[in-house]
Subunit: 690 residues, 2 copies
Amino acid sequence: MPDASDLDQLSINTIRMLAADAVQKAKSGHPGTPMGAAPTAYTLWQRYLRYDPAAPEWMNRDRFVLSVGHASMLLYSLIHLAGIQGSSESDGTEGRPAVTLDDIKHFRQAQSHTPGHPEYRLTSGVEATTGPLGQGVADSVGMAIAGKWLAATYNRPDLTLFDYNVWVLCSDGDMMEGVASEAASLAAHLKLSNLCWIYDSNRVSIEGYTDLAFSEDVAARFRAYGWNVTTVEDANDLAQLCRAYQTFLDTADRPTFILVHSHIGYGAPKLQDTPKAHSDPMGEEEVAGAKKFFGFPPDGTFVVPDGVPEHFAANMGARGKAAHAAWDKLMAAYRKAHPDLGRQVDAIANGTLPEGWEDALPTFPADPKGMATRDSSGKILNALAQRIPWIVGGAADLAPSTKTTLTFEGAGSFQAPGNGGDYRGRNLHFGVREHAMVAAVNGMALGGLRPYASGFLIFTDYARGAIRLAALMELNVVHIWTHDSIGVGEDGPTHQPIEQLLSLRAIPGMVVLRPADANEASEAWRVVLKLKHRPAAIACSRQPLPTIDRERFAPASGLARGAYVLADPPDGKPSVILIATGSEVSLCLAAWEKLRAEGIAARIVSMPSWELFNEQDQAYRDSVLPPSITARVTVEQASPIGWDRYAGRTGVVLAMRSFGMSAPIAAVLEHFGFTPDKVVEAAKQAMAAN
Amino acid sequence: MPDASDLDQLSINTIRMLAADAVQKAKSGHPGTPMGAAPTAYTLWQRYLRYDPAAPEWMNRDRFVLSVGHASMLLYSLIHLAGIQGSSESDGTEGRPAVTLDDIKHFRQAQSHTPGHPEYRLTSGVEATTGPLGQGVADSVGMAIAGKWLAATYNRPDLTLFDYNVWVLCSDGDMMEGVASEAASLAAHLKLSNLCWIYDSNRVSIEGYTDLAFSEDVAARFRAYGWNVTTVEDANDLAQLCRAYQTFLDTADRPTFILVHSHIGYGAPKLQDTPKAHSDPMGEEEVAGAKKFFGFPPDGTFVVPDGVPEHFAANMGARGKAAHAAWDKLMAAYRKAHPDLGRQVDAIANGTLPEGWEDALPTFPADPKGMATRDSSGKILNALAQRIPWIVGGAADLAPSTKTTLTFEGAGSFQAPGNGGDYRGRNLHFGVREHAMVAAVNGMALGGLRPYASGFLIFTDYARGAIRLAALMELNVVHIWTHDSIGVGEDGPTHQPIEQLLSLRAIPGMVVLRPADANEASEAWRVVLKLKHRPAAIACSRQPLPTIDRERFAPASGLARGAYVLADPPDGKPSVILIATGSEVSLCLAAWEKLRAEGIAARIVSMPSWELFNEQDQAYRDSVLPPSITARVTVEQASPIGWDRYAGRTGVVLAMRSFGMSAPIAAVLEHFGFTPDKVVEAAKQAMAAN
């Protein structure tokens, strides 16, 4: 075991002082954890992390996730000292260092690459956006899943392409979050031996010492999940840290949890080990005291002593560079030995899909009986997953209901080998853990897969912390949320979504699609797999929906524009427009027939996606919803909020203004007025108001 | 220990068969858990639960929470056989049994009192709405907190008003949910010895056997939290169950976790112990086979054998009746000995507040510098909590930031005695556990307190499962969500809410208030404490807001109507209306001055609550937003969705169309265009469009 050399100590203290200075200058931020956890992270980076600073996108790099995102200055200091370069995945940093000293001097300022909490795509070297506690640890489980899946799928004898490890630095706050518990339980079940959580236990949180609210035995809890658990008594003991990291590397059958006792604000004369070291600048006096303690010049700020960057280059840098070069040779040999698989690996690296994948999209014949969109979506997903081998996903214990099981030969279950599947499995069983599922799927996307998550729409409520981060990180994840309305029926109001569709639509960047029938479901999948840097949610019905006759009505390809004219009167001159999504489109078609029988000319607009429609040009939008036609009815079995935009001042919004009820679907729809007659009535009302 | 008598066994099997018949007739539901867990619940109710079936609202009753809500037929069978009466808290059931045999025959049908999942207020005897897994267990922690608080606050020597226990039946699914982990950790920290979770472990979930996804050692995990843990090897062993329940009663220093191994679908010839017994009817043949196994008439349905209701009456019924009668006497003595405290207890029972509480509401003088609404709300909360002793609450490790600490003398910390506080404490430290916090606060409201929960608005994302249930249960809870916009500044997009306000507004029944200044904050508290059966969320700013001069502008009491005219041109004839909420109101006031200087007559509408405004009559709404004035600008630093309703077709919606950014507040507001000049520009644009 290496002793802490002077250069090691100097490097560690440089990290500490950069963090203290940056927070002090910004007058905002969290100095305590960077000062306490600096040796922990430093030792990991310098002695173990396999990372080429010149190639932050190298596929087989180790991942380091700072789950304790408020300690962002710890990460920025490391990125800066290690000399990590910008990349095309990180906006505007290609060809320059990811974090310059100037960035650090502009910590938490506009246009810097050092925001308050680490942001993926803004700063190269940041593997995941963190800050909301628990998210980083939960993401890391998905990264480890991706690592295991890639290894099992692509490694060949003597050609080990993938064997990266995922390291996470987390905190007391992470340990308290439910999503972390879910993720920890799942990681142990899956025996993710490539995953190491390093728990920086400084016993301080915002309200005070953690014993105000947190008195469990965390190590025992992780043992109960099935983790390999070890403890480091003092973060300043580098030899102990090395021993712990080595234990992780030596453990092949389970994830490793390292509990590291540390001193928040280490080196600050008065604030060390106190809650006051957690948030906000410590004050000039404390910073000066810490500098004195560490032997730094008292009046210098943002000091990077000679030799420190070179020390990083000589250790982490040189190690990573060599490993990367070796891997490049390996990959070249792999491409020759296994050209098909090599193309797959390259496509994963480039974020592209196999040529011709769209040919796999099924079409469905007209059928008045039809099928639930959860069923059609399941068929489409299965067809696509056979063409795109790195579509991997699952549900939170609801796959038989969400119809998301991949059933083709060889799809298999993603499990530790011998546990009913293996790591090549395409079907993940996330358990009743919605939040960890969505976060893990974020991590899988960060690992290059095209993953999906699934559940009932109502349970998006449990997962919103992670859903939002998918949008903020601009990840290509697909969510399939079924049982998408009061059409759920007997399960009642606890299971009938009302506000969930709207709440998803409100997330910036998110694409929400609610297909009206099987062919719209197919087009929805076409759209979402083509999305670049955007997550998508597909809302599917539990109940069967007629497959619309596309000879008689408009083709489903109109879905790509968010909304389209599905049906019009023969002369193309409607006097009323019915606008609907999902299951309510066929309801409107029934009303349309009734109106036609009464001689009323109606248009039906199927509007599966607000976002995509709002992104069309004005001319298209006006062609679908001509401003001159103000007699409009919108129909969606969900919150009315937002529909005024399309209904206009005199339109009628048919929506849910209360929670649902438990009864068979027909009784529920009747009770809440979602019948053809009510739509006809609303159409007449809208016409009368004009 | 009592042996299982024939009548016990007959009663247990009656519960099983009622559940199987009800699910079969409804063609929908979950028969397996009622059949497996019937002895567990039966033994508890008959031998331990202190509950007077004639008085389901008795304050000192034991609580039984069915966290495994999909096993609702288990609870309905028990309520029916125990003869629990309807109550005024349960709509339409006063003066009749809470669940008739006819209700059971109409399981999951409209207008029955037996919905798919148990619903508080719909069925007397249902202590909490459950179904979304993890919620019941988390609610129960709040119920136990309420029990401890009531006991510590009101019990006097020889006058033990409160000593109820909270019993929960939960499932594999509950154990996997993160919110349950948070709640379990919190319960152990608080040493809630009045809380018993009974874990019905049948090793089956929807996707199959639980070992597909769940292989942790649950008992060890609970020991790690600090629970008293015991195991029952077979749910059919009533003596073992009694031993376990007695262990709970004998444990005074921690909550108790009883792991009960059970057989899902017990008695079904083919389906017992298989995943097929979990959901959906088992089929006539299986039901008939089970009836044969239990010696029930093969062709009878909904059979309640002679003697079973009487057996319930002779045990649970008689015990509960006697205990209740003794308590009534005790309470009468208490009212004499402690008239003031007696009035408080009666007010808690009746859901009323102390007379004159509104006098405690502070008013704030005009002040251009002003204060953050988190600060004013904190002052108001402190004033009210001194007048209303059963306001109890806290934050998820953010009280110093959300300003929700009760600081007056005697407020104290709610902790196990000797742990830095005691059970009379008014300040709860929930830890970094947002979801469990909100659920626990639901449970505290169910226990009669007027509780509050607090955190950053962004973290509502973590707690939505429980926030929704507060609305569905129609609970009087108050949420104080601070840091309510991009005004958060440096913490950046991970901490700047965009879609959260809208997502809260979309929850049916929820009242969302975003006060513009200190006096609106005071009025907001007046409104929310007067709400009956509705939860409320108050969104507060991190940054200081001017305290508006209410001599010059309209009084803040207008808040009660959701929106009001704050400022008008002297002649009352505006040509443009600026509509804003919260921190954007003072922004609009600055713009209003600029417009005035340019000779443009503008009205400012402060709109702290969409919901309250939408509930006003048309005349009032037209007086605030005259249809004739179509030049309008809405300003809110949040999602634009829904503002079209108020802006109208030609209005301008100033809102956030992306995530935020990390920078000091002034830079953030400038970047996203929330400046007086931009508002002026928008006003002119709106006028030009008309």
